[in-house]
Every structure is written in C-alpha cells, then in structure tokens.
C-alpha cells in the first residue's frame, strides 16, 4: 500500500542555517502522525515544504506514491494537503468570507468574483461547522475581535472546506482555552475516524500522545526517532524527549 505522503532525504538550508538535513519520513493512509521536537528542531520548515511554501534544496516528495517536483501551494492543495498554520494565516482587518476564500476566491474565467456565492457558502459553513458563541457574526463580520478559538475555527473550517485529506496542524492549541483545546483534540480524532490523515505538531507531548498513531521526533534538523504510541508510555516518551533535547540521543 502506498504512503499518503513520503519524504526522502529532504534537506533545506537558509543561508548558513541547516534547517533540515536528510529527512526521511512518511505518513500512511488514515494515520495521524505527531511531529515533536524542541524549538529550532525544524518542524515549521518541514511543514512549509510539505505544503509547497518552501522548496527543498535536495530530496524528493511523494504524494500517494507519485513523485512531485516543484511543489507549489496551489499544487499541494490540489493534492489534498491543507494546513492550519501556527500563525493561522488570517487577515485580521478583513471580513470572514475573505479569510475563508483567501487565495482561492471563486471567480469566473476573467477573474471576477462571485461574492454572493462566497458569502452564501461562508454563512452555510458557519451554520454547519463553525463555532461562534456570540450570535452576531455573519459572513461579513471582520475577524479581528474573534477569540483565539474562533480564529482557529476559521482556519480549520477553511482547511476542511476544500476537501483536504491530509491536514497539517501546526501548533493548533496555541492560544486556546482548556475547553477549546479539548475540543480541538476531539476534532483531530474525528479526522482519523473520517478516513483522512493528519500531521499534528505541538510542543505539548501530552496532546500529541493523545491523538497520534505514531510520533516522529525531530531534533536539530534530523529525524531522531519514531515511536508507535501504542508501544510506548507517555512518561517514557516524555523522558526520551528531554534526553534528546539535552544530548541529541534517546538514551
């Protein structure tokens, strides 16, 4: 069976900084992979390569078994990859529908937008999927006063609307309340139940352990190790994370 996503010997440098060195990892069909690592391990760079925002300096990317060269953000989306970024990638002064359709506005052949359809779809998404605890929000509401969880909801719904089946979540619990965090974890479990795959990055080992089938540990730009969550206890995993951060080794 082919992997949903595979990276082989992917490297990326920014000037003198070697962000990623010879990364080889994969995500199975219908698997949630947790990506763990300390600050500076290279997690965000890895995500931006998978979503087509950065180009790797070397190595190959395979989506459902087929190699893809010169991946762009648009191409990645067509391949079913959607990302909920750490910085959420929203435009605070703009209306909700503009954020949902950012970069993917529904247009005719000449680029003229179907604003009616986009606001209609946004309203529908608000009814069906989005969570807003106040009732005064419409598709034309500006998002700058939304709470952290509401903004996260916008970013997530945006990813889901476009029928992704590999959803990348980069530090999605950042800025969320306890209850919102719990709901997000449930949501990631729902992704798995729906037959899709996900990559879940978080600093918090507890969150990742709770939802991931498998954990990949990045350290200083390389894959330090992989563990199936059913084969390791949380405390052992935590211990190994500390050791690898301190010394670069698990033992």
């Amino acid at each position: 069976m082919t992997y949903r996503l595979e990276l082989r010997n992917v490297s990326k440098s920014f000037g003198e900084v070697k962000s990623l060195q010879n990364i080889t990892l994969h995500v199975d069909q219908n698997e949630v992979v947790g990506l763990l690592g300390d600050n500076g391990a290279g997690k965000s760079t890895l995500i931006k390569i998978i979503t087509g925002y950065h180009q790797p300096d070397s190595g190959e990317l395979y989506f459902n078994g087929t190699e893809v060269k010169h991946l762009t953000v648009t191409k990645a989306r067509k391949l079913g990859v959607e990302t909920v970024y750490q910085e959420r990638a929203l435009a605070d002064q703009q209306m909700l529908w503009r954020n949902i359709f950012m970069g993917r506005e529904l247009t005719n052949r000449f680029g003229f937008m179907d604003v009616t359809k986009m606001t209609h779809e946004t309203n529908r998404l608000m009814l069906e999927s989005m969570g807003f605890t106040s009732g005064a929000v419409t598709a034309e509401s500006v998002i700058n006063n939304f709470s952290g969880g509401e903004k996260q909801g916008v970013a997530i719904v945006r990813a889901l609307y476009f029928k992704a089946d590999l959803i990348v979540l980069d530090e999605p619990t950042m800025g969320l309340s306890l209850q919102e965090t719990r709901k997000l974890i449930e949501f990631v479990k729902g992704i798995k139940r729906a037959g899709k795959s996900a990559i879940f990055i978080d600093h918090n080992v507890f969150h990742v352990y709770n939802v991931a089938d498998r954990v990949v540990v990045l350290d200083r730009g390389t894959v330090a190790g992989e563990f199936l969550t059913k084969d390791i206890t949380l405390s052992d995993l935590t211990e190994k994370m500390y050791r690898v951060a301190e010394s670069g080794h698990f033992d």
Binding site: G52, Y53, T72, V73, T74, R77, T83, Y85, E87, R88, A89, L90, A91, D92, Q93, Q94, R98, F101, M102, G103, R104, E105, T107, G111, F112, M113, V115, M126, L127, S129, M130, G131, F132, T133, G135, A136, V137, T138, E140, S141, V142, N144, N145, G149, E150, Q152, G153, I156, V157, L160, E180, K183, L184, E186, F187, G190, I191, A194, G195, K196
Partner: protein
C-alpha cells in the same frame, strides 16, 4: 465512505431584528458614511458662508474641470496604498506620458497611436517602479522618491528644455482627441469629469468584484498570510504599480489637453493633493483598508478648500491652515471609526 468531521465548537445564531440589521449596515460602511458626512458638513458650511460662490453653477463646473487632473490618479493610487505600498513618482510619470505622446504624434501624425504610446509609457514606468520594489526589496516610499526625480530628469533631458514651453501644435489643434478627453458635454460638463467617474467605477469593480482587488486587501492586511495561502504577492504588487502608471500617463494627457500646452513641470504640484485625497478619504497608510468612494469624495474636499477659503472671505494665507485642519480631522475620524468591528 467519508463521515462528517465534527467541528470543534458549538454553534448558536440568532436572527437579527431589522433595527439591528440597519445598525450593522451603518457599522460596516462607517468609513464611507464618515467621509460623506464630512463632505456634506463642509458643503453646507460653504453654502452658508459663501453663497455667492457656492450657489452658483460656475464653481461646480470648475471642480469638474480641475479635480480630475489629480483625481484620475488618486483612484488607482488607492489600490496601491491599500496594498501597503505607495508611489510618489506619479507626477513625473504624467510628464513622461505626454512626452511620449508628442514624440509619436509628431512622427506618425496619428493621435490614437500617440495616445497608445502615452499609456504604454505610463504602464512601463509603473511596472518598473513595481519591479524595483519587488525584486530589489527597496521600500516603495524610497524607491519612488528616487524614480520621481529620475523620470522628471529624463523628461527634461529628452525634451532639452528647462522651462515652460508650449506643446507642439499637435496637441492644441487635434480636435478629435481633444473633444474626447476634455470637451464640453452638452456644452457645459467637462469630459474629464466623466472619465473620472468611469475610472472610479472601474477601480471600484476591480477592488470589490475582482480577484486582484481581493488580493490587494489581503496583501495590505497581512502579506505573510497572503503568501502562505498561495497568493503571488510580488506579481500582484507589480500589477498595481503598473495600473497607477497608466493612470498617471492618462491624467497627464488629459491635463495637457485641458490646459492647452505641455509644461515639463507637468505633475510636479500634484503629489500632495493626490495623496491627501486618498488619506483623507479613509485609506490607511498601514494598508488593508480603504474605499473608492472615500477617495472620490476626498478629491472634491481637497478641491474645494482653496476656492472655499476665498469664497468665505478669508485671505489666501488661511488655505494651508485649513488644508491641514481638514486632513488631520478626517484622518483622525477614520482612525477612530476603524476601531471596533462586528
């Protein structure tokens, strides 16, 4: 089989009352309401304080004649400023455009070819501005200050004059283009005003109904987010610079036809009124917000200050004071209105 993914949070929506919907409408368009309010207040004040001027149709014909000289540029410039860029070289591009018109007209005898050359020159100058800003990463404020001098210098050198000289007879006597650009419709309404309205409608459609306009708002609001979502930020910026260049060249040829001659200093006085009209109209220099209606109204507020000052009996020295007052009050109002949302 795909099962529905449960969303993370709960939904609760109430149906808003009519009063609430109206309040929401006013709140959403509060920038536009604000600037139109300023215009109306100012207009009422001028009619009361200077009835001899402002109850007479002559002053309004004068506005329709002269405001488009910079209004034609202020409207596309709004898009550029919303995109968090600026162009200070558009005055010089006016002169570049007219110079190219003259060269081609004198060589070919065709006003249409001349007009095409003029607009293409403006496009080229604008695109060059964009390329310098995007490819070399120079902030547009600095890059276009430099280009302002560069284009002005190019015009002076290429026309080999250093003071005002009338245009080659070409422009003054070509009747067809003259009528089209600056003729009097129904014997009274200056055609350039109609052009300004056409440009206003065109830029409104581009900004609010075209994908490029949507991207302009997003790039100005958060260029990182826009790039992460796959928007080609650099290409969009270059295109808007190009549009501003074309508009400047067009404004240049319209102004020259209206005035009847070409001065190599064409455009050098338009920097401040054009920018003031845009900022006064509610566009934020920080990017991400702004309206075409605001700029359109702002152009006429700016245009009315000088004649208004004279009409209400104040000496010319008051003009600067009033310019400053109106600008600060308007921009302050917009800043306050922009706070708060939903």
């Amino acid at each position: 089989m795909t099962t529905q993914i449960e969303p993370p949070l709960n939904v609760s929506l109430t149906t808003p009352t009519l009063a609430r919907q109206f309040a929401r409408f006013v709140r959403r368009y509060r920038l536009q309401f604000g600037i139109v309010g300023v215009l109306v207040l100012m207009w009422v004040f001028l009619i009361i304080a200077g009835p001899r001027t402002f109850l007479n149709k002559e002053i309004y014909i004068s506005f329709a004649d002269s405001v488009p000289y910079y209004g034609l540029m202020a409207l596309p410039l709004t898009l550029l400023i919303i995109a968090r860029e600026i162009d200070l070289s558009f005055g010089s591009i006016m002169a570049v455009g007219v110079m190219c018109f003259l060269s081609v007209f004198n060589a070919t005898g065709s006003p249409i070819l001349g007009l095409v050359a003029c607009l293409l020159a403006g496009l080229g100058a604008g695109l060059l501005n964009g390329i310098i800003v995007v490819r070399f990463g120079i902030p547009s404020l600095i890059a276009t200050i430099g280009m302002q001098f560069f284009w002005r210098g190019a015009v002076l050198v290429l026309t080999q004059v250093s003071s005002n000289l009338p245009l080659a007879p070409a422009v003054a006597v070509d009747p067809v283009l003259r009528e089209l650009l600056v003729g009097r419709i129904f014997g009274v309404l200056p055609a350039q005003f109609i052009w300004m309205i056409i440009i206003a409608i065109g830029t409104w459609i581009l900004l609010n109904r075209h994908r490029l306009g949507a991207h302009v708002y997003l790039i100005g609001d958060n260029p990182n987010s826009a790039a992460l979502m796959g928007i080609n930020v650099g290409q969009r910026r270059i295109m808007i610079f190009g549009i501003v260049g074309v508009a400047a060249a067009f404004a240049g040829i319209v102004t020259s036809y209206s005035v009847g001659s070409f001065f190599t200093s064409l455009g050098s006085g338009y920097l401040l009124p054009t920018l003031s009209a845009v900022f006064l109209g509610g566009t934020s220099v920080l990017g991400g917000t702004g309206t075409i209606l605001g700029t359109f109204v702002g152009c006429f507020i700016i245009g009315a200050i000088e004649p208004g000052t004279a009409a209400i009996g104040l000496l010319g020295q008051w003009t600067q004071l009033i310019y400053g007052f109106v600008i600060v009050v308007s921009v302050g109002m917009h800043t306050l209105l922009r706070r708060g949302s939903r």
